[in-house]
């Protein structure tokens, strides 16, 4: 009898799953810091299970997404004990790994959980779970952005004819940012959709200051940039960064008015309230869009989602080399505090959220914001309540091959704040020269690097770069 790869994986996962009530776990309360709202189901689906099966009682301590990392820092600074498990954005892995996170490799070995970690999609496992050659975290929410486009706009024969007459080429899903701009411009300012109002070319996720780099950074990488050069100069203070920033700002003319001041939810509302031809958004849209009970439903999401097609973000073709990266920002990971006195019990929580048959409860939940990150999450057959289309799941898996990850070296908070300030000023119209904006941010990056220690930071970046390579990321090496 021969096993298929899927059967072999299922067998290994079944063996790794579950937990035995250990003496330690029998009476253990594990304090878990979690992002609130739609992120809570990642844990709340397992509270009863963990209590019954593992003897682990969860005490969930909510911490708002943008500041959860600060709570972990405060916990470290005050000697620990506040959390056994912390949830944070993976950009802070480098910040927390050296002093706060407990390496997990011995626990993985001890609890036979290697198959569960091997079931994490390589991009998330290599880029977001590891630090300095050790496993330090486990993903609980995998986010990657893709392009959603309105099939009714692209397939309409009249629109196609009009586009051909105007541009001399076929109206097609754009492959490059130049094509994207052309298509976005074409669909802006005239009533081409069911609302009967003038439509728009595109809508991206929020441009709020704290998230403003999510749109620009992958474009910069596609144009041949990177977070850093080998000698730790900013890898985006160059033609690639300027091009991406200039292109991004010019695209704003094709987005609904006021886009730069919209929140995440408001950008989502625009997608359904207006006629928007192309949408650059994260996986929640495709996973939940068809559900009548999700937060998309109030805007007529399920009906309108039927018109959506799925594709990767466009890229740049430079000197014969085509690169297209998609934002891989804002997924979430959890790690065990090195101060935790019950790491084994805490690890049972990690094991549980990584076990496919437990994991699916949060994934197949229209009130949950946790998106796919396990290899087994992309199988349409596992969904009983939601009905994400196969085409969406396949695209979501495929775009991860070109997912551009968050910047992760220690100091990420300060580096990103410096960049966000200048990007935001330029994109909101408070600056006119993209090169100047990037130079100002670069000056601050250099100062931060000098303060944190250039050689130490270079070492960290070399380790991150090595993981980029291992994950098959074709990002420019500068």
């Amino acid at each position: 009898m021969t096993l298929t790869r899927r059967e072999a994986l299922a067998g290994a996962l079944a063996l790794a799953a579950g937990c035995s009530k250990s003496a330690e776990a029998a009476t253990t309360t594990v304090k878990v810091m979690s992002h609130p709202g739609q992120i809570l189901p990642i844990l709340t689906h397992h509270t009863e299970y963990l209590k019954k099966t593992c003897g682990v009682s969860l005490r969930i301590l909510e911490s708002p997404d943008p500041t959860s990392y600060l709570d972990a820092v405060k916990d470290q600074q005050t000697g620990g004990g506040r959390y056994d498990i912390a949830m944070f954005f993976p950009r802070f892995n480098g910040e927390l790994a050296p002093g706060y996170l407990r390496p997990l490799d011995d626990l993985i070995q001890k609890h036979g959980a290697r198959p569960l970690f091997d079931n994490i999609v390589d991009a998330y496992r290599i880029l977001y779970s590891e630090w300095g050659g050790k496993t330090v975290a486990a993903p609980v929410d995998g986010d990657v952005a893709m392009m959603y486009y309105r099939k009714d706009a692209f397939e309409n024969p009249d629109h196609r004819k009009k586009f051909r007459e105007k541009h001399g080429t076929e109206l097609a899903v754009p492959r490059t940012w130049e094509e994207f701009a052309r298509v976005a411009e074409f669909f802006t300012g005239w009533a081409w959709g069911p609302t009967g109002r003038p439509g728009f070319g595109f809508q991206s996720a929020t441009w709020e200051r704290a998230y403003v780099e999510q749109q620009w950074a992958p474009m910069m990488a596609s144009a041949g940039g990177n977070w850093f050069t080998r000698d730790l100069k900013p890898g985006w203070n160059n033609a690639a960064g300027v091009r991406a920033l200039r292109d991004l700002k010019s695209l704003l003319s094709f987005a609904p008015p006021g886009s730069t001041s919209l929140s995440w939810n408001q950008t989502m509302e625009n997608i359904f309230a207006e006629d928007v031809a192309m949408v650059l958004w994260y996986m929640d849209l495709g996973r939940l869009g068809m559900s009548k009970n999700s937060w998309f439903a109030k805007n007529g999401g399920p009906e309108k989602m039927k018109n959506f097609g799925y594709a990767a973000w466009p890229g740049y073709e430079i000197a014969g080399q085509y690169r297209n990266f998609n934002s891989m920002f804002y997924g979430r990971v959890i790690g065990i505090s090195r101060f935790s006195k019950q790491p084994d019990a805490a690890f049972q929580v990690l094991k549980t959220v990584l076990t496919p048959e437990r994991r699916v409860l949060a994934l197949d939940d229209d009130q949950s914001g946790s998106d796919m990150f396990l290899k087994t999450d992309y199988d349409p057959a596992i969904y009983k309540k939601l009905a994400p289309p196969r085409e969406f799941l396949e695209t979501a898996r495929k775009v991860l091959d070109n997912g551009f990850p968050e910047m992760q070296v220690p100091g990420a908070g300060e580096y990103l704040d410096a960049l966000q300030g200048e990007l935001h000023a330029f994109l909101t119209g408070n600056g006119s020269d993209p090169a100047k904006a990037l130079q100002a941010a670069a000056d601050r990056w250099e100062a931060i690097t000098d303060r944190l220690g250039r050689s130490k930071q270079s070492g960290y970046w070399a380790e991150v770069s090595a993981r980029y390579k291992r994950a098959g990321l074709k990002v420019a090496e500068l």
Binding site: Q76, G99, P257, Q266, P410, N430
Partner: protein, 289 residues
């Protein structure tokens, strides 16, 4: 034991507690301001001497945050005092139901700052906010208040004036009730008009109340964090990164606890200086009512 000594003994525990609670954090801030704190586990704080203060003096973001805070301080506190005074004068004429009105007026200042921030963000929202709806009704285009200048500054100052003006009014109303009616009556009999009464009786009587209200508002503005952060996140760019926001960023986003402690100590010194200057100006040394 003399009565004096006995008294000292009795207040000693309270004094010790006050010193521990009051000076403990200050002393720790002093210690932290002279050190840097590496992120690595078990790494000991490193001695930096005055290095954190020197770094701050060269930090353009810090200097900018001081400038922005100064601007907000002047605009907001001036508006709060002027409008608060006008409101207090109006309230002083209310004879029935004043207590209820005062209670209602205090609601904004009782609201958690983060809630006020959210409320004003919604009001100034470019897409759904009523402020833009009014502007559009008036034939004026929508303004992206929170991401443009001076829109972002206007939004912050408006929120602060809304939240704290009634509080200032209540303090000044308390002052107005202390003016003896006989003094006002005497002025009226002497032929003093409204302006003269206001200038030579009301305002001098209110001087200590302006002092208290102004000081509280200055302190509130200098340590401001939630309202502006929720409204603008410090944007557009870094245009509205007030000192309170920068202090928080320095400590937690940038993990520079030494720098943040140095900045906090500078706050204490600067606030004390402002308070002293303000007290001298408002108390009008040598002048009597």
């Amino acid at each position: 034991m003399t009565a004096k000594t006995f008294g000292r003994v009795m207040i000693a525990p309270a004094t010790a507690l006050f010193l521990a609670v009051g000076t403990g954090p200050l002393l720790y801030a002093l210690y932290a301001s002279a050190h840097s704190f590496p992120a690595e586990a078990d790494a000991a704080p490193e001695w930096k001497g005055a290095g954190n203060f020197v770094d701050l003096s060269r930090d353009p973001q810090f200097l900018k945050s001081v400038g922005v805070t100064g601007m907000v301080l002047v605009l907001a506190v001036t508006a709060q005092l002027v409008l608060g005074f006008a409101l207090a004068m109006a309230l002083h004429r209310v004879r029935r139901g004043r207590g209820l009105v005062v209670s209602l007026l205090l609601i904004p200042s009782a609201i958690a700052p983060i809630v006020a921030g959210i409320a004003w963000w919604m009001l100034f929202n470019a897409r759904t906010g009523p402020v833009n709806a009014f502007l559009e009704m008036a034939g004026l285009g929508p303004v992206e208040w929170t991401v443009t200048m001076p829109g972002a500054l206007v939004a912050i100052v408006t929120a602060l004036v809304w939240q704290w003006t009634p509080f200032v009014a209540v303090i000044l109303l308390g002052g107005l009730t202390t003016i003896p009616p006989s003094v006002l009556e005497a002025a009226r009999l002497d032929g003093a008009g409204r302006w003269h009464t206001l200038r030579h009786i009301t305002l001098p009587y209110l001087r200590p109340f302006f002092l208290v209200a102004g000081l509280l508002m200055i302190i509130e503005t200098v340590r401001l964090y939630e309202v502006p952060f929720y409204l603008t996140q410090g944007g557009p760019g870094n245009e509205t990164v007030l000192s309170g926001i920068y202090l928080f960023k320095l400590a937690f986003n940038f993990r520079n606890f030494g720098g943040a402690s140095a900045m906090a100590l500078l706050f204490v010194v600067v606030l004390s200086a402002i308070a002293t200057l303000y007290v001298r100006l408002v108390s009008g040394k040598g002048r009597t009512v």
